[in-house]
């Protein structure tokens, strides 16, 4: 009789405990990891004339159809990560929230190419997804266990039942035109209505991807580690990131900051215009990379000839 009572108690106890939903620390996670977009300046393509692979600046490709052809893959994917009390981020291996907490749910639509990354001794480290896309990011605090965070739509439903609070943001990565700007939804709160309007706007923006007047600027948007702790190495392989400061760097720096401290805004605009005309990225941080990056040596020389030696 006692055994039966104990068994019943155990059954009752365990039936009330939610099954644990495991998480994997970011450094150990060997699956899709969305990242903040990182500019990528070049792509390796096959040069028919030279019968060999060659590096081409993305911005030097005038034909947007050609850019799109270098991004042959498409996917839509949702990833869920949990931030613990110490600020450590871990990826959830299921779409149910195991316990109350703070979660980031990211839904990506991407048009991309995959580029593999190898270490200095030839070992496969993983790969990066280079492309353009649409990203909805929901940062939510759950007030109950076992909520469905597997899709943006289900998050809206949970929000309407007051099971979660938080906000959403929408990112358009590397897809730009006047129409796209007009379509970007201004969203902040999480509820079914705002999520529906965000999804509708993204569907409209997705169609703009194929229009001739839409600028396509591929970025590194996600990585996949083949072994733990390789994400930094994978990311660093995609950028022109070795320091080099030559005499052209010095001249351009003096042009940008004549007194060594303050920016001359009209000169800065001239630098930005020239960079844009010559196929370079002009987002924040691009001028400093242009002045100090090893990969820009020949372009710094051209800038000096075009602008400084006039």
């Amino acid at each position: 009789m006692n055994t039966l009572i104990i068994f019943s108690l155990l059954l009752t106890t365990f039936s009330c405990v939610s099954p644990p939903v495991s998480t994997v620390a970011t450094n150990d996670y060997l699956s899709y990891q969305p990242i903040d977009p990182q500019p990528v300046s070049k792509v390796m393509v096959f040069d028919d004339a030279a019968n060999a692979m060659t590096e081409v600046y993305w911005r030097s490709i005038d034909d947007e159809d050609q850019v799109r052809s270098y991004l042959p893959l498409q996917s839509a994917i949702v990833s869920v990560s949990k931030t613990d009390q110490d600020g450590q981020v871990a990826y959830a291996t299921a779409s149910l929230s195991g316990s109350k907490g703070t979660y980031d749910v990211i839904m990506d639509y991407m048009k991309y190419r995959v580029e593999d990354v190898y270490g200095s001794s030839g070992e496969f480290l993983g790969n990066g997804r280079i492309g353009v896309g649409l990203r909805i990011k929901a940062n939510v605090v759950t007030t109950k266990k076992n909520l469905n965070l597997g899709s943006i739509a289900s998050i809206g439903a949970e929000a309407n039942q007051n099971n979660i609070t938080g906000g959403i943001s929408v990112d358009i990565i590397g897809i730009d035109s006047k129409d796209v700007t007009n379509l970007v939804p201004l969203t902040s709160e999480i509820d079914q209505t705002s999520i529906q309007s965000a999804l509708q706007a993204l569907a409209a923006i997705k169609t703009k991807l194929w229009e001739d007047d839409t600028d396509i600027t591929p970025h590194l948007i996600a990585i996949r580690q083949a072994k733990p702790n390789t994400s930094d190495q994978i990311r660093e392989m995609f950028v022109d990131n070795t320091f080099e400061f030559d005499s052209y760097s010095e001249s351009i720096l003096s042009f940008w900051k004549p007194d060594g401290q303050s920016i001359d805004s009209s000169n800065e605009q001239e630098i930005i215009n020239w960079m844009s005309q010559n196929g370079l990225n002009t987002e924040a941080g691009a001028i400093t990379m242009f002045i100090n990056g090893e990969g820009f040596q020949s372009l710094r020389k051209k800038f000096s000839e075009d602008i400084l030696n006039q």
Binding site: D171, N241, Q261, A284, G285, A286, I287, T288, N292
Partner: protein, 47 residues
Amino acid sequence: MSVERILRDVPEIQVEQVKSGFESEGCSVEVIPQTDGKFTIKASCPD
């Protein structure tokens, strides 16, 4: 959303110039020492 930029092998004498450049462009900057005495500079820049 931010865009990350990384510059490796920066000599100590140039760290301030690079850091100030990124900061002038609105980026937040992290300076990380390398084992060879040079520095890696990571800038998180507004999109």
